[in-house]
């Protein structure tokens, strides 16, 4: 499934500018250290962290998108940096648990 297809199935707000990418599984963590160590290439990364350091982390681990959950406000500098590096930032008002349920229901599973 690609990010565009995902956004058509689940109500996610596109925060940054990005090119469409293939999704490969999900990684949930608010510890960036864990993301660096455990996330796989192509994962959707779900977090409530919004500071701009999430962008280099997402870029270097090659996640397909960062989904900011629980309706957290994303600072403009994070969005700007993400757009510059073609990193997809999506946001939802749902808490992490509920969005994970929805992702699972539409068939996104860890590879």
């Amino acid at each position: 499934m690609t990010l565009e297809q995902l956004c058509n199935k689940i109500d996610l707000k596109k925060m940054s500018q990005f090119t469409d990418k293939e999704i490969n599984g999900v990684f949930v963590s608010d510890m960036i250290s864990d993301v660096m160590a455990g996330a796989k290439s192509g994962n959707l990364w779900l977090t409530v962290q919004t500071h701009k350091s999430i962008v280099p982390a997402a870029n270097l681990v090659d996640v397909s998108a960062v989904i900011i959950t629980s309706g957290k406000q994303v600072p403009p500098e994070t969005i700007e940096l993400a757009s510059k590096h073609d990193i997809a930032i999506l946001s939802t008002d749902l808490p992490t648990f509920e969005i994970v349920g929805k992702l699972y229901a539409i068939g996104i599973q860890d590879s």
């Binding site: 250290s33 290439s41 280099p56 270097l60």
Partner: protein
């Protein structure tokens, strides 16, 4: 007139040397006519000719043009052939419209008093020198096979801008065309090292070098040093502050993750002086 000097000779396999406009400016003692702010642009080939029909027929994208033809046609031809810049040799200065055209189309224009022959030789020797510089002081002699060597600096106090150097290194390796999985390992290791520098050191020098067999990233910091390296390599051991942890860093996974992602890791550290990390990734 000198025939084309192509830098393809330095290609080894898929590796390619990346040279920057500012290196050319320096090598040719050239003045900048346009594009002062984009001198960090890289290029891949050099094409030397005064015949614009040849430039259009044989020039490769991402080249720079060395020419004695100081007309706007030279600049337009370079743009059409997707070149990155033009060097006017023999001290020629292009006609008025050229500068505006270059600015509008993101081309660098340089002017050098050297003739075409000398300019070609200077670029060639700058290339070879560049593959050798910055390796002095290192224990191993690895000059001959060096394809790329670039130095970066990390400033230790700026926590929020951590990732700039690793992102840059990632894009350099991507441009060269390495396997994405290998690039990912280098990128993750470099980012972890960069985070360690911003958390624990004042500043660090990062040296990226690429040979046909190996990518090496050296991170040499002037920080407080690691008293017990074995302990620091244990997953979960951390000396991070609460602020760092609130941002999701500092869970004691940095060095272990670097170890996991590198093929060979050497750590030298002296308390009060600094830490030097040598990460090797075999191609």
């Amino acid at each position: 007139m000198v025939e084309s000097t192509n830098l393809e000779q330095i290609k080894i396999g898929k590796l390619r040397l990346i040279m920057l406009m500012k290196n050319i400016k320096q090598a040719l003692e050239a003045s900048v006519i346009a594009g002062e702010e984009i001198l960090d642009t890289s290029f891949e080939h050099v094409y030397a000719s005064d015949l614009m029909s040849d430039v259009l027929a044989f020039g490769k994208p991402n080249s720079i043009l060395l020419t004695g033809l100081a007309t706007q046609q030279a600049v337009i031809s370079a743009h059409m052939a997707e070149f990155k810049g033009v060097v006017f040799v023999r001290g020629k200065l292009p006609k008025d419209g050229s500068r505006n055209f270059a600015i509008n189309h993101q081309l660098v224009l340089l002017s050098s008093s050297m003739d075409m022959y000398d300019a070609c030789i200077k670029i060639d020797s700058a290339l070879h020198k560049r593959t050798k510089i910055k390796t002095t002081g290192s224990k191993e002699s690895r000059n001959e096979e060096m394809v790329l060597c670039q130095e970066f600096e990390i400033l230790g106090d700026d926590f929020t801008s951590a990732g700039v150097v690793s992102t840059e290194i990632k894009s350099i390796l991507k441009k060269i065309g390495f396997d994405p999985k290998l690039i990912r390992r280098v990128a993750i290791s470099t980012y972890e090292a960069e985070l360690n520098v911003v958390m624990h050191a004042n500043r660090a020098k990062v040296i990226l070098s690429v040979t046909p067999y190996c990518i090496e990233v050296i991170v040499d910091d002037a920080g407080k040093g690691i008293p017990d390296i074995d302990l620091a390599l244990q997953a979960g051991y951390t000396t991070a502050t609460d602020e760092m942890r609130a941002m999701g860093f500092g869970s004691g996974m940095g060095l272990p993750n670097i170890k996991k992602n590198t093929d060979q890791l050497q750590i030298q550290s002296e308390v009060g002086k600094g830490t030097r990390l040598e990460c090797k990734f075999f191609i």
